[in-house]
Symmetry: C3
Subunit: 369 residues, 3 copies
């Protein structure tokens, strides 16, 4: 197992799968450079084990699941859901060191979260809030794409939506996004970027939404309120409303978003959580939830596929950027005004990583016997 | 040419090809990290030369064979079967250093054997005994598969047949193999693992064999007598007989296999010789020979294809294991009881490698002028 | 950007594209390890910029061309044809360092030439003479192939046509080429190899040409006059004439080629210029021009396709040679008589590279602000 690099903290919950991905089958996935096998137990909860047999390292995911135990597909060593070896071929006495690492798991907001760091620190209360993904007042769905780039490039991408104008011109992009002023703020584990665009024409995507949901076709006020939660979750409150109906709170970017009156508008949440797979690739889980037309299953399906097209545009850009960065290892980057949000996000990530460095030596790579 | 790593000895005969593979054509193959070109001479014997022209390194296998001489496909240098350059374009005087390395070759038991080490030590008597592959009392055939793993992982695989239960459950595997006691012994250049299984149901493969050959359908005594010959040959005496008819010798695992009476059974030999291609890949030559139904060509064909399916199961496991080992370079391996045979095999290999280390410097990489 | 290795000089004109390749579109190509984007401006001239946005390194070739300016496809930074950033999103003041490198460009003899070194030294008079490619007295056409080898292996290949006998036996090769004596000479920036073959049968390619153009079928005098111009251009004067009609000048190889009377023959020029793409790959631009049957467009097409087949034979050899050299990094190469021409070419290249070494530090990697 390669040593964790300093690009991500280990003591964090990372989305490892959509809930529906984990069934009564062995499911391998690499999280933070660690090969993990997951499966759903007979009680409905999820187990996550190191995906390498203690004996000869064959991935356990190539074996068989039987009664919440995993049998290795080579020599038949059996492990329980806690990673302890419970059977060896041709011998009665089991080696006391025979176990594989087991990972803390929580299932919440439609994701299976895994904690790759010190199990003692795995507090379920630290799972990021993505409740819109699992709330009767919202409807939506999402996908997982695995992108060949450092997960932080995805964070950068989401913290500055200027790029919509250039990358997503045919759907959600428009000049106003690149030109409207914005405000960036931050806290201890979070950073926000708020942008209100007053009295503009809605871009194609939003024009279609507000027409369908509210029968409205005129100018709109548009908002994007991006909220980063370290190390890798970004939830974005987005939408448009009939202009002048109070969607923009008093004070605009400086005002209090809670005073935004969206009764004449349509509101969505773009939910994103990005899990490092390796140092150069990541699992990008996203969903789009809306608070209108909740019963229209066709719309849920259509929005998921439509938004997937937008994310595919990002994927091409992100992978090209990663290749270019690999070719320019010593490049000195300059930040523009638009990078304010991602600068804060990076600073919070760096802080979490720095905090771990001395402790890393004592994190047990295998569960204690 | 990369320096030979310490995973295999150079002073040994390695199977380089099945006899039928070598005809009046240039045939390239990499053996022990060395690129070799082979061809059959007009007298029927086989020549093996370094596959890189002395002049500009173009593989000679891209050239032409004419009258037991090889013409390079770039500038036309000609080499005889001993590797000496006999013609250069546009010049009369030949550079005295102009030659490529020539390898000792022996053809025996249906394989072409090449000696990649010191030619002076290449004693034909050291070719491992695989006579079942070329003996009128036995019938059979085999194949070559090139596997992306260290050749020693194949040896490990063959020295412990416990894995049949988990990897080959639909053909030759059964619980009895994982559970029956066995005995491991060793000599100076060989190691053996013997396992007798008394009064069991035959697994699907053997049930079909004994029914077809002897018309017998009841319980059987089964045996597996694995014999490793360093550095990389494993011949396995396998079979089943009507239970209680004397196949198991007095004393069982401790008894003398020569006293085994197999007249009411079917006997096969699984012949394996594994040649390192590179440090991370190998040529796995295998054959299955039987001493029953000798005249049934259909059975020979069917057995070869059926056994090939079994070996394909191993290939998947071996390549996954190699990838996992590459990802865990510092992994500390523990041995189980079932690893006794492979431990002895590894020890004998290590001994051969260690013996070569000081001598390696003086092995000429090219034939002397 | 990786530091330029010592295998090619940077202060030289390199063919970057055929003229027809560069239109009103962004065209990426790697030249001498540098990623470049080219486009034709509205005035018809060609611009060449570093293909990496100053801000986040996204290739500019993934962006959009508008009015001779390039808009980055990620955040919309705009660059003019000189590489200066003229617009940034959401800010009025532009960072003074915001620019990408711009390369000197000359269009001549049907190629777009780029100068990857010090722009101050980019004298258009230094573009190599390939006028046959763009001259009403000659007709022809060519292609670009990208070969996975060090560009110098292509130079070696062209400086010794002995290989025609072995590589191109079915078209232009014949024993006479490997056997006829030749003369190698050199100057400060050029090297030549001259070979006259008197009273021979024409090889298939030339037999067809002289029959079609002159109705002649008998023995011929054949010539190959190879001229290398450092660092990477090789023009070859080739052809055959009815034997004894004065094509071979008095004195033969020692004589003056200008006294060659080719009125009873057919004459062609094989034009080659090879641009390093990376240290291990190159763009090989070639063309074949003839001075007979000028109006036959069918022949131009046919010759281009026929010669492409010949170059494909070289490509296979060159890539195999490169792979073999990579596997034998410490191989000691010996030169034969036939290598005289390539030895001179290599010496001239080495001289140009050596001259640059101290200066390389001061070459600005980006245009000054």
């Amino acid at each position: 197992m390669p040593a964790a690099k300093s690009t991500f903290p280990l003591n964090a919950w990372y989305a490892a799968a959509y809930d529906v991905e984990i069934v009564r089958k062995l499911m391998p996935r690499t999280i933070c450079n660690q090969k993990i096998v997951m499966f759903r137990k007979s009680d409905g909860s999820v187990a996550a084990l190191e995906d390498a047999c203690w004996h000869r390292l064959l991935p356990l995911s190539m074996g068989r699941l039987e009664n919440d135990e995993v049998t290795c597909g080579y020599h038949g060593l059996v492990y329980n859901a806690q990673g302890r070896c419970t059977h060896m071929p041709s011998q009665e006495t089991l080696n006391p060191s025979a176990c594989v690492r087991s990972y803390p798991v929580v299932e919440k907001h439609r994701f299976v979260w895994v904690w790759p760091g010190d199990p003692a620190k795995a507090d379920p209360a630290l799972v990021p809030d993505m409740h819109w993904n699992d709330d009767a007042k919202w409807a939506g769905d999402g996908k997982l794409i695995t992108v060949q780039c450092d997960y932080r490039l995805v964070i950068d991408n989401l913290m500055d939506l200027t790029h919509e104008t250039f990358v997503h011109g045919s759907s959600i992009g428009q000049r106003a996004v690149a030109e409207a002023p914005f405000v960036a703020t931050h806290g201890d584990r979070s950073a926000s970027v708020t942008r209100w665009m007053e009295n503009i024409n809605a871009p194609p995507f939003w024009a279609a939404q507000i027409k369908h949901a509210r029968g409205y076709e005129g100018p709109v006020d548009r908002w994007q309120i991006i909220r980063f939660e370290a190390p890798c979750t970004v939830n974005i409150d987005v939408g448009v409303a009939q202009t002048g109906t109070g969607a923009i709170p008093p004070g605009g970017n400086q005002g209090d978003a809670k005073l935004s009156n969206r009764s004449k508008g349509v509101n969505g949440y773009v939910l994103n959580t990005i899990t490092p797979e390796t140092d150069g690739s990541c699992h990008y889980f996203w969903a789009f939830a809306r608070n209108y037309c909740l019963g229209e299953q066709r719309m849920t399906h259509q929005l998921r596929e439509g938004v997937a097209t937008i994310f595919r545009e990002d994927e091409l850009i992100l992978e090209a950027q990663q290749r270019a960065m690999d070719e320019h290892p010593d490049h000195q980057f300059y930040n523009l005004n638009i990078d304010a949000g991602s600068m804060w996000a990076r600073r919070l990530i760096d802080g979490l990583v720095a905090k771990e460095k001395p402790a890393q030596q004592v994190i047990p790579l295998r569960a204690a016997a």
